[in-house]
């Protein structure tokens, strides 16, 4: 689909970029089908699949029954029988019913059959808080899926990354969970290459190079961190890492930066305990112990249930808290 004038002038949103990636991949590979609740005629509740059914037909952009385990389980069958399904779970809070199929089946077929049956599917999931959505619509469950082996987990924060990472995910021979930060869906635009391109899974991006403090994050918090860096004193040199792929994680980039700065702040939306931030801290401690100049600091959600909209911004890491944490680590 040709880009609109606004898209040409102001760039693409995350929604636009994912939509374009899906369209280009469906064009390129007839095995790719999208399925999920309301993804067809309605174009998805976030309009990520807008126009795709009109273009590719209802047999390739499929309005499925309201049935998360069904969506995930049939996608496994589709994938095993030679298709490249891209199911959507409408919100991360609805992944519960699909959990069994995802973790116990999609993630295990290759291993349990010693490679004779494989499940190349990419499940797209709108993820995270910050848009004042109802309950069960704002969670950050990535740690659960990182903890379980056999799947890859991606969280793209920018339109350009989203397009390239999604194309890599769909072409990947293994199941991939593709988390899409809702808060970024329409809040940020940038110029995105029109042609198809891939960004390798498992590679973090250093958004800003620095020498004093390493800031590690993913998803919508990339923008909170950028804001925090703007507010920090100019003579504090911050290195900002956007992980992009959460499993497999780019430990080389993380540890090289931690070794260089000796001071690390990890920022995530998810609750603190047993989270990805915990794992990053542990690994930095294991591998970079002698380089550390300060205890690694975490800025996380709290170990509470994600509050409803009114308290949402009190729960989520804010630039102000990130600034405080960074200053503490820098001054230690």
């Amino acid at each position: 689909m040709p880009r609109t004038e606004k898209q040409i002038k102001d760039g693409l949103t995350l929604v636009d970029a994912i939509n374009e990636a899906l369209a280009q991949e469906m064009e390129r590979d007839s095995r790719v089908v999208c399925l999920g609740e309301d993804v067809g005629l309605n174009g998805g509740v976030f309009r990520v699949t807008e126009g795709l059914q009109k273009r590719f037909g209802p047999d390739r952009v499929i309005d499925s029954p309201l049935s998360e385990s069904g969506i995930m389980g049939t996608s496994i069958g589709l994938a095993m029988a030679g298709m490249r399904p891209v199911p959507e779970i409408q919100f991360e809070g609805f992944m519960g019913p699909a959990y069994d199929q995802l973790v116990n089946h999609a993630a295990r077929f290759r291993n349990r059959t010693r490679g004779s049956l494989t499940v190349p599917l990419t499940v797209r999931v709108p993820w995270g808080g910050g848009i004042h959505a109802p309950e069960f619509h704002s969670d950050s469950p990535e740690a659960i899926y990182i903890h379980n082996p056999g799947m890859k987990v991606v969280c793209a924060s920018t339109p350009t990354d989203a397009k390239g990472l999604l194309l890599s995910a769909i072409r990947d021979p293994d199941p991939v969970i593709f988390f899409e930060p809702k808060r970024v869906y329409r809040s940020y635009r940038e110029q995105v290459p029109e042609e198809e391109y891939t960004i390798p899974l498992g590679k973090a991006k250093v958004l800003a190079e620095g020498t004093d403090v390493t800031m590690i994050t993913w998803g919508a918090n990339v923008f909170q961190c950028l804001e925090a860096i703007d507010q920090l004193p100019e003579d504090l040199s911050v290195e900002l890492i956007d992980l992009r792929t959460l499993n497999p994680l780019d430990w080389d980039t993380v540890c090289a930066s931690a070794e260089k700065t000796g001071r690390v702040v990890i920022v995530q939306e998810a609750a603190k305990t047993c989270s990805l931030a915990s794992e990053i801290m542990a690994t930095i401690m294991e591998r970079c112990f002698l380089n550390l100049k300060a205890p690694v600091q975490r800025v996380c959600g709290f170990d509470t249930i994600m509050p409803y909209a009114k308290l949402e911004l009190d729960y989520l890491p804010s630039p102000k808290i990130i600034v405080e944490a960074t200053e503490q680590v820098a001054a230690y």
């Binding site: 385990s69 069904g70 049939t74 069958g77 589709l78 095993m80 029988a81 490679g115 004779s116 990947d172």
Partner: protein
């Protein structure tokens, strides 16, 4: 305004060969479609014997500590074989539970792989290319969605293949059964849902599992065809599955077949069914054993005699010995096997973990274990 009937249905029960070996030629005229020939009946009887002997040996292997757990198939051979035989080998797909060994063997799965699986070895699930079966499914009911997705893919690709999926009566209480039936019928995929209603889900009897009179009627809620068959009657099972397969191929929809059968053994070797069911019930079903009635039938037709029985028993014994030898003769997998099949390409972190296990330094970071990235 009179109340009108919005929906009405009946559930048919099909039995062609009864427990005394009487054959209803009106229901299944020999020589017609979907009816087993004499030759096929003998062939399938021989496979039944083989499977029964294999089952018995698996049980003794477990009891002597040579196999970890094993779910006996005893008593359900007609259901597995009759349905499996109706599916086209190398074309259609079987998505089983764990009491359909005979059907899997019929479709080319090497028998020792099933033993390997229950001996705690993933290589038992390494299905050879060209054998269209998915691995034994342990969690209950999840495989029905995979079968539905596969059938859906074949429909999308205009590939003339059907999929049959197996499950028990207990599995129909799982959400995945309903989600699979709903997807399968909504998208009209070439799938057959084959329920081996063996009356017991471990210790819970069928009537405590559901309030519906039959399992078959659950199909009505989803707009699927359905039929209840005598699951110990291989003629009825074959005919119902054959008809369902032809219907599916013609785009005529999904069929739920309820095969009424009985689990003559325990749930698995870890179970003792005497704790929850009485011996009278078991004895009553023993007389309905599918092997007994098929033998009666082929004997009465002059197709079978004691000499042939002795010969197949001898053959089965040798075959089973070979399977045991093959499954026990394989070396323990290397610890690398834990890591090598998680992803198409092993991630760096996993590679390091694999290497630490090689040096018996489990839990240590490779750097601390004296290993450096890239050294292996």
């Amino acid at each position: 305004m009179p109340v009108r009937t919005a929906y009405q249905a009946k559930i048919e029960f099909l039995q062609i060969l009864d427990e005394h070996g009487h054959y209803d030629a009106k229901l299944a005229p020999p020589g017609t479609e979907g009816v087993l020939t004499d030759e096929q009946a003998v062939f399938l009887y021989e496979r039944m014997i083989e499977c029964r002997r294999l089952d018995e040996i698996a049980f003794t292997l477990q009891r002597s500590g040579r196999m970890y757990t094993y779910p006996q198939n005893k008593g359900q051979e007609a259901a597995a074989l009759g349905s499996g035989f109706a599916m086209r080998k190398g074309t259609d797909w079987l998505v089983p539970c764990y009491r359909e060994n005979a059907a899997l063997f019929l479709h080319g799965l090497p028998m020792h792989l099933v033993f390997l699986h229950w001996m705690g070895d993933e290589r038992g699930n390494a299905i050879p290319a060209g054998v269209n079966v998915t691995p034994i499914a342990i969690p209950i009911g999840t495989q029905m969605l995979h079968a539905t997705g596969m059938a859906w893919a074949f429909k999308m690709r205009k590939d003339d293949r059907c999929v049959i999926t197996y499950f028990g009566d207990g599995a129909t209480s799982e959400g995945d059964f309903h989600e699979a039936m709903n997807f399968a019928t909504t998208f009209n995929v070439p799938a057959i849902f084959f329920c081996q209603n063996n009356q017991w889900a471990i210790s819970v009897p069928r009537e405590q599992q559901m309030a519906s009179e039959t399992v078959a009627q659950k199909a009505l809620a989803y707009g699927a065809q359905c039929v209840q068959v005598d699951g110990n009657d291989i003629f009825a099972v074959y005919k119902a599955t054959y008809d369902a397969r032809e219907r599916a191929r013609a785009g005529g929809g999904v069929t739920l077949i309820e095969a009424v059968t009985y689990r003559l053994g325990d749930h698995t070797t870890a179970d003792d069914a005497r704790r929850y069911r009485n011996s009278e019930e078991v004895e009553a079903w023993q007389s309905k054993d599918p092997l007994i009635r098929l033998r009666k039938f082929i004997t009465a037709k002059g197709l079978w005699d004691d000499a042939k029985q002795a010969a197949i028993e001898e053959k089965a014994k040798a075959m089973v010995a070979e399977v045991v030898k093959k499954s026990e003769g394989i070396e323990k997998p290397s610890t690398d096997e834990m890591f090598n099949f998680l992803y198409a390409q092993i991630p760096e972190e996993l590679r390091k973990q694999r290497d630490t296990l090689r040096t018996h330094s489990l839990g240590l970071d490779p750097a601390q274990a004296g290993l450096r990235a890239g050294s292996h």
